[in-house]
């Protein structure tokens, strides 16, 4: 969006987004977040304005109002839904879900570790290898017990 780029440029010019705001000291006063509020207000006003335009036009009689069954249906195009909307997922997904929840969160530890790998040295590397061996045991366990198969 060209306008967004322009906005960023504008904020930089006037020092509103200057790098000093990202330094730890500057956060003692988080007033900078106030600008988010200004943008929010602007966004809301703009939305309301856009909503008002068709309303005024229809009040003035510019917009024709002729309704028919096709026009008032939920979906003007596409197919009607068949069956209940509240489908239940097959419970067999739950094993995968549990495995996913348990294993994917563990990647959290990889980010701080990767950022500071040099600082942690050999000990950090060995610790992560041990961590992955434990994970691997869990994975092999799930595999051998048939938790990864669709029964």
């Amino acid at each position: 969006m060209p306008s967004d780029i322009f906005a960023c440029f504008f904020f930089f010019r006037h020092g509103i987004l200057s790098p000093q705001h990202f330094e730890p000291g500057a956060f003692t006063v988080l007033a900078d977040y106030g600008y988010v509020g200004i943008l929010l207000v602007a966004a809301i006003l703009f939305t309301i304005l856009l909503l008002l335009i068709p309303l005024t036009l229809s009040l003035l009689g510019v917009v024709p109002r002729k309704s028919n069954p096709v026009k008032t249906s939920t979906y003007e195009c596409g197919l009607e839904t068949i069956g209940k909307t509240w489908v239940q997922f097959n419970f067999r997904y739950y094993l995968f879900a549990i495995l996913f929840v348990a294993l994917d969160v563990l990647t959290i530890f990889l980010y701080p570790w990767a950022v500071n790998l040099r600082g942690l040295g050999l000990f950090g590397f060995i610790a992560m290898v041990a961590f992955f061996i434990i994970l691997l045991v869990g994975y092999v366990y799930a595999w051998r017990k048939g938790a990864l198969e669709w029964k």
Binding site: V29, G34, V101
Partner: protein, 111 residues
């Protein structure tokens, strides 16, 4: 530019702590008032996330250079995920044996 003149309050540590306390209270209310075991589990997650907000806010404002609180929050998240996984598995077992996940119906044992 002066923000207070625009009627905007600077966001401070207190705001985060109030948010965290409110979230914690909402979670606790849910735990006490809800009857569906899955919903109770979700409320517990809300409580843990409330703690995370407090931890990260404290970390930012009290010890901005060290990241103790943020690391603590990472551990809380991982443990919470493990707890949720075990919780869901136990709820599945409950559903198989009781045909319900309503905690009010779990009254085989009392007094």
């Amino acid at each position: 530019m002066n923000l207070t003149s625009l009627g905007l309050m600077p966001v401070g540590l207190m705001h985060y702590l109030i948010l965290s306390a409110v979230l914690f209270a909402i979670g606790l209310y849910g735990v006490l008032a809800k009857r569906n075991a899955v919903v109770i589990l979700m409320c517990i997650e809300i409580m843990l996330n409330a703690v995370n907000i407090a931890l990260i806010a404290f970390s930012r404002y009290v010890v901005p250079v060290q990241l103790t609180g943020q690391i603590f929050a990472l551990f809380v998240m991982v443990v919470a995920a493990a707890e949720a996984a075990v919780g869901i598995a136990i709820i599945m077992a409950i559903y198989r044996s009781h045909q319900s996940v309503d905690v009010d119906k779990l009254d085989l044992m009392k007094w």
